[in-house]
Amino acid sequence: MSTVTRTGAVAPAHRPPADGGKRRLGLPQVLLLVAGGLLLLSAVRALTDTTNLTASAQIGGALALAVPIGLAGLGGLWAERSGVINIGLEGMMILGTFFAGWIGWQHGPWAGALAGVIGGALGGLVHAMATVTFGVDHIVSGVAINILALGTTQYLAKIFFADGDALAAGGTDKQSPQVDDMHAFSVPGLSDWLGDLEEKHWFFVSDTAGILGGLTNDVSYLILVAAALFVLTYYVLWRSAFGLRLRSCGENPVAAESLGVNVYLYKYAALAVSGALAGLGGAFLVTFTHIYLEGQTGGRGYIGLASMIFGNWRPGGTAMAAGLFGFTDSLQLRGGGEAVHALFLLLAVLLAAYAVWKYVRGGTRAAIAAGVSAVLLGALYATTDTVPREVVEATPYVTTLVVLAVFAQRLRVPKWIGKRYRRGEST
């Protein structure tokens, strides 16, 4: 087709001189932000007298709850950066749990984790076959994979776990035998010292110690692996030729093809990695609870997808979003209504700060919206003592909605996402 679709940028002359494109935060700003966040958290902790907010165990628990979600999200990131929507993360995660349980109980947790990775990758490859080779709609294929993965693992569980040795070792058609422990990791020396500091309940200092303690004490090796994978993803996708090509497939595969990039190959690779990461997320569930259990993923693949979008298709953002999920979830599981109640104050303060910032920058409407939300939350905090159990359960979801509603418009989606791409078919 011969349409000329060269639409120029809008009045480019008016743009401020951009350097390196978008504004990125430098290290000092990031540190400042982190410190500010900590200060706020400490203040809320002190004001509401909710020690749980910054207790090291709370942070450790949050980490464990965040990792499977984060890994699924990271898997989603790989897929979507290559232009393929991956709603099948849940299914790949299920495959991960199954494989991890199957190999794990016989050959130990590390072999199990590896098997989970492979199982997830297989799911990713099926998705690649459907979407890339056969050009099936991405969401359609993803949904099909979720159904298929669930059915297949349920079917196979009976054969693999409810028979022979496995049965004797405690397996059933719903669960695997016990998987051995993968031992945890503590930074020597540091954790004791931080623990002492935390005990002191000094404003800010103890809070920081608590958070650091949670991050360094008794951390599962798979959590370290997950953290490394986030960093690695950043380097591979944004700092290597491979990553550049992969991302170009998600932004404009026709352009990539025109420069000799084998788009199909990169999409296949991206989806294999995507599935592998989701599978590792599943394997984490298994190694952490030492057992494969049917239905264990409990929708974490979908939440992972949400945290990836929440995280603006970036590893750092995804990690933060998953962390937020883990944090609120851990808070409600461990602290219950009172802890979530304290969170209201935190959210109110954050929203108020955002409203002021927005107002200063001239975004009156957003400022008003955020301001009103802040006042409402504040009022809610002041007039209640605790949060009903049902509301507590909904906290992570409501928080996500609120945060997204305030920030969504700044998100940046890979341009070609979800679109069909056929070699030589597009002009």
Binding site: S2, R6, T7, G8, A11, H14, K22, R247, S258, V261
Partner: protein, 557 residues
Amino acid sequence: MCAITAPSSSSTAADPPAGAAAVELHGITKRFPGVVANHDIDITVRRGTVHALVGENGAGKSTLMKILYGMQKPDEGTITLDGTQVAFASPADAIARGIGMVHQHFMLADNLTVLENTVLGSEKLHGIGDGARARIRELSEAYGLGIRPDVLVEDLGVADRQRVEILKVLYRGARTLILDEPTAVLVPQEVDALFDNLRGLKAEGLTVLFISHKLGEVLAVADDITVIRRGTTVASVKPADVTSKQLAELMVGSELPTPETRESTVTDIPMLRVGDLHLTAVDADGVPREVLDRISFTIHKGEVLGIAGVEGNGQSELVEAIMGLRDPDDGSIVLDGADISHAATRKRREGGIGYIPEDRQRHGLLLEAPLWENRILGHTTERPNSRGLLIDAAAARKDTRRIVEEYDVRTPGIDVTAASLSGGNQQKLIVGREMSHQPKLLIAAHPTRGVDVGAQADIWEQIREARREGLAVLLISADLDELIGLSDTLRVMYRGRLVADADPAAITPEELGSAMTGAASGHLEDDTAAPDAAVRKPAAPDTSGDADGGQGGGRTR
């Protein structure tokens, strides 16, 4: 502008065996669903020449070039480079053989930087970091491209994007360049600069294959010309031997049309009055910017108002504000006495606005829907498309057949999807659709962009005829000949403002082009005797050296 200098690292490739042609295409045939895009093509391109391909829309030029570039596989035929027959499995093979292509559509990823777009696929050459950055700077300097490697492509204007495309080819050290309609979106000064570039490249022994619908350009720059009609080569000529009129006749077998307006039909009944229109938009960083700044004009019945301007100076936003796709902050839009400043788009269309959008695939068509459904698009509430709240499919289909017939839309039927038509034919369908509802005002944004000469003439004739019957037209075009030829009044838009006006009968494309860069304002006169302060600079602004000032102005710097 951008005078060419020899690149610092020239002639890297080994010299080809003397005598052999750079490129030989023989017996190429390529079929697509429902269409034979190429059939028995034979072309020979001599090394170190600029070889032009001309032909109607859908003649198969782009397809042929994609075959040469390895993006399409021919069904039949052979490709010979420097005497050796080759078979390309992918563009990577073609790139390895020193072929580079600038596509008809930009092949750029908006969300990646210039550097990333450039090194993509050839990361082995200089890496993806500082090495590549240095090489890009070097090339940019050598060819006067004025490229900043770390800007997001998203933030670039069209001309800059065009230069990035050329840079991509040069970066790979291409010896044979394919340029598919590179001038379609450039103003004359930019075209000149590009041609200077081409001559420079040619002097270095590079071979250039060049596609354009602007026959004047072709005659000016080409050494050889091949004419393609309906998928096959029908003639090979030298520019010296033909006039553009003859060339056009070879392409279409009809006479060369010109977009000249004859007798004036302008009345003094205002049809569209735009007053003090003001529009701000918030950019990605949340900073509000003025995109339309106090725009005022009136179009009368029977008048064509042409707006000239480099793309990205607010023309699109103006059109969108009039169509109701953007809500102006201030000012009024009055159509035939009715204030429509904040009316819904559908109300405006029902009120008699016809719209030929600048991006027909995104704004004018449902690509996956059949032609007859596309005929309904935009006029859902009007006859013959609907009766009451229901769609009248039978009537719409019948009327689609009429449009296909009357506007010479080349299609196997009205049940094929719009995507299967060539761009020119898509455009004819849109024009037919919009004209079928007797609009009071037609907004025509680049109505003939990428359309072949034959279809161009038809579209111009349609506009002229409707104008005779009292149609008011707002014309926006990058084709200055078209703009001058069709308009009764001309205004120049620059940075969101109407900065100058001109009499189309008394202005040349060059003068207009220079005003578009912001170099002149007020009333433009052909004569040097400017009435007042509206100074018109003699030519394009300073073109040498300083890449900053000389990039056709109005661009991001």
